[in-house]
């Protein structure tokens, strides 16, 4: 985290304050790595390298192990993410009911590819494995809201709700 305003130390402290709060709730052992990462990501929106280094230090695990775990699980992200996370279900039920068309429509509408974030940081688009709402296939999740029985047309309508 580069800083040129002269208040490096103070800013540093401010930056790590949310992390410190998360760590307070744990015994600082290796077994807590995943829950700590989950809560930290809630706070920062993603997992910046400096934060991961701090986590490695306080849980006393090698940084390489932290990095290994972060890159293993699809829930963790090393890059900043959009305000709205759009998850397109690619499960079997959605696949046979046209999930790829929903994905194509989203890509076209947002002008980004699967896994990317729009430049204004408004939307992140992700195709995901089954989200378990197969009765409503094809289905997507925007943040924690599920939207089902979609067609290319209604996909655009759903997106408009979040464009605001």
């Amino acid at each position: 985290m580069a800083c040129s305003c002269g208040n490096a130390e103070e800013n540093q402290e401010k930056y790590f304050a949310p992390l410190k709060k998360v760590l307070e709730n744990y015994d600082k052992k290796a077994k807590d790595l995943i829950p700590v990462l989950q809560e930290t990501q809630e706070e920062y929106g993603y997992l910046p390298q400096e934060v991961l280094e701090e986590i490695a230090k306080s849980l006393r695990v090698p940084f390489s192990q932290v990095y290994g775990v972060v890159t293993f699980y699809s829930q963790f992200h090393l890059e900043p993410r959009g305000e709205n996370i759009i998850r397109i279900c690619m499960g079997t039920a959605c696949h046979v009911r046209g999930a790829d068309k929903v994905l194509d429509t989203m890509k076209e509408e947002l002008g980004i590819d699967d896994g990317e974030t729009t430049e204004d940081l408004k939307f992140t688009l992700e195709s995901v494995a089954c989200i378990g709402a197969c009765g409503l296939a094809p289905v997507i999740m925007v943040n924690d809201n599920t939207h089902g029985l979609l067609t290319p047309e209604t996909t655009v309508e759903v997106l408009d709700q979040y464009r605001g």
Partner: protein
């Protein structure tokens, strides 16, 4: 709990499916209407877990009559209260309409989707408030653990489960009692029980439904297991993609603790048990038991070689019993009613019921719990109402990425663990995805390989490299670049991967390819030798969409239907499709009134 006596109860489904269809708004609208007419003390509104018929949501049942309303909207509530609640007249237009007879059916017991079901694991789902422990207790909940702790020894509990014939509902179908016996026999001062709620199989959502609709049945099942094997600590490993399930389970754990059903010295005995939730972080392989335990320990979720089995050396090296949600949900009934009663349902080798998640190109999608030994035809046609849009049945995919696709001539097969293995499929977690004539079987195989390939953890070479090679070949075939010898190569790779992979993910990954090759080889051959896709699904093998200028009446319906504005043309003039912008979604084809658009 309030003690008022109500003349009527209105159950609104609050499962994930109905939440997405707007049940929360329906509930507030209903409560407003009731309050306006001063009925709040007469009519009780209860938000339940999933009824299983998600496609028709939001769902609502009015008791004591048991009238079943589907696809209810907030604006319908005034009519429901005025007509049904006040005048006793059923609101016909909100009833379920039978897709074959076209008749409206008022009572849910009479709907084909529910008629053939027999519920054990899902018995309370949709009938009780999952966030209220007293409702679970009122249905006989926690009686089994009371009975076990005060009247039975741990070995007697294990014997009862063994005698019941219960087999693991999550995949392989290993006998549950035997698993418990191994964990019980293992030596160790500390033991664990784990619930695998990392339901990752695409097309399966029964575990989610139990967690959301009846979390206490899982907790009770786990306490019984802990008592039987001698564990004092347990974990429920739930995938993070199920936020509502996690929330309800958390509420249930708190209530169980407050009521002395979890914690120290349960029922005044010296048996103590602590239960915690662990959230998964998005890795399908964590559904494999050894990978799941690595994940709880804070590591990458990679499988370990077995033996040693978890019963001997599991979580943190201690003996561990691990079962899935539906398996645990069956246990309280076995202890309460006895193994003899439990065995009356199902077949000799596969006792009890199984919950299937019925999805795909079928009229009634949702969860159906049926006795083992039922035929596929009964599930798809009697419960599922047949194929939608009047299309032809082609195949049913059972068991997720580990399972297989079965063709029409296997529809009369009776379903149990062993019969499915014989025909090249497996029970898996019970996902049933129905496919019609428009589904390409090569594409389905490619889809599953794409899934397992990206979820392979990379620890062992056969799975890491082998699935990639198989996927490459399948991708080539679906874009029309298949070569002679590809089918044989796929078969050889499949056999190698099956026999040499470290865990279940790799060992079963080739199943979708092998089963489609077994039953739909001609489709592979058509792609390879004739560069055609008989189902018309593989885009690269079809031409671009074009509008027939002579047939086009210039109505502009298609220009409006196109989500990417790829169709140009003024009213009453011929329209044109911009091939580069077209995403081939087919929306225009469906809307064109004169069928002028073809591929």
């Amino acid at each position: 709990m309030d003690q008022s006596i109500y003349r009527s109860h209105i159950l609104i489904c609050g499962g994930t499916g109905c939440v997405s269809s707007g049940c929360k708004e329906v509930r507030s609208s209903l409560e407003e209407e009731l309050a306006e007419r001063d009925l709040v003390n007469e009519i009780k509104v209860i938000e339940t877990g999933c009824h299983g018929f998600c496609e028709k949501g939001p769902l609502m049942i009015v008791y004591p009559e048991g009238v079943f309303y589907c696809k209810v909207q907030p604006e319908d509530m005034e009519e429901v209260v005025e007509e049904h609640i006040l005048k006793g007249k059923v609101v016909e237009r909100l009833l379920y309409t039978d897709p074959t007879t076209g008749e409206n059916i008022p009572s849910y017991q009479e709907i084909d989707f529910y008629k053939k079901q027999q519920r054990t694991a899902l018995i309370n789902c949709g009938y009780i408030d999952p966030e209220e422990i007293k409702e679970y207790i009122a249905t006989g909940g926690y009686e089994a653990i009371g009975k076990a702790l005060t009247e039975m020894t741990p070995q007697e509990v294990i014997d009862e489960v063994k005698e019941s014939g219960l087999r693991g509902r999550g995949g392989g179908g290993f006998p549950t009692g035997l698993k418990w016996q191994f964990a019980s026999d293992a030596e160790g001062d500390k033991k664990y029980v784990i619930c695998n709620a990392d339901e990752g199989d695409p097309g399966a959502f029964m575990d989610r439904s139990i967690l959301e609709g009846d979390p206490h049945v899982l907790i009770e099942g786990m306490i019984l297991a802990a008592y039987a094997v001698g564990a004092d600590e347990g974990y429920v490993y739930v995938r993070a993609e199920y936020p509502l399930a996690i929330k309800r389970l958390r509420v249930a754990l708190e209530q169980a603790e407050e009521n002395g059903l979890l914690g120290e010295n349960l029922f005044g005995t010296d048996f103590s048990f602590k239960l915690r939730i662990k959230e998964g972080a998005g890795a399908f392989v964590c559904g494999e038991e050894t990978a799941l335990m690595a994940s709880i320990e804070g590591e990458r979720g990679m499988p370990r070689p077995r033996p040693p089995f978890p019963a001997e050396k599991g979580l943190w090296g201690k003996p561990t019993n691990i079962n899935n949600v539906e398996t645990y949900a069956n246990v309280p009934a076995i202890i309460k009613e006895g193994a003899e009663a439990y065995k009356q349902v199902g077949t000799e080798g596969s006792t009890g019921t199984k919950v299937f998640a019925l999805t795909g190109k079928i009229n009634n999608t949702g969860l159906a719990e049926v006795p083992m030994g039922i035929t596929m035809r009964e599930i798809i046609y009697d419960i599922g109402g047949g194929i939608n849009e009047g299309k032809e049945f082609k195949a049913v995919q059972i068991g997720g990425p580990s399972g297989g696709c079965l063709p029409e001539d296997k529809l009369d097969l009776t379903i149990d663990y062993d019969s499915l293995l014989e025909v090249g499929a497996m029970m898996g977690s019970g996902g049933l995805v129905v496919m019609d004539e428009d589904t390409c079987m090569v594409d389905v195989a490619r889809f599953f390989l794409d899934f397992t390939q990206s979820e392979s953890c990379g620890k062992c070479t056969p799975c890491r490299i082998g699935t990639k090679q198989m996927l490459d070949i399948l991708e080539r075939i679906t874009v029309g670049e298949g070569q002679e010898g590809d089918i044989e190569l796929l078969e050889r790779l499949a056999e190698n991967i099956k026999s040499t992979s470290l865990c279940g993910l790799g060992q079963t990954a080739p199943n979708p390819v092998l089963s489609t090759l077994r039953y739909f080889r001609d489709e592979y051959e058509a792609h390879i030798y004739e560069q055609t896709c008989p189902a018309g699904a593989c885009e690269e093998l079809l031409g671009a969409y074009v509008i027939d200028g002579e047939a086009c009446v210039g109505c502009t319906v298609c220009t409006e239907a196109c989500p990417v504005d790829a169709i140009a043309g003024e009213a009453k003039e011929e329209h044109l499709i911009d091939e580069d912008a077209c995403i081939a979604c087919g929306a225009c084809v469906d809307k064109c009134p004169v069928d002028a658009i073809t591929q």
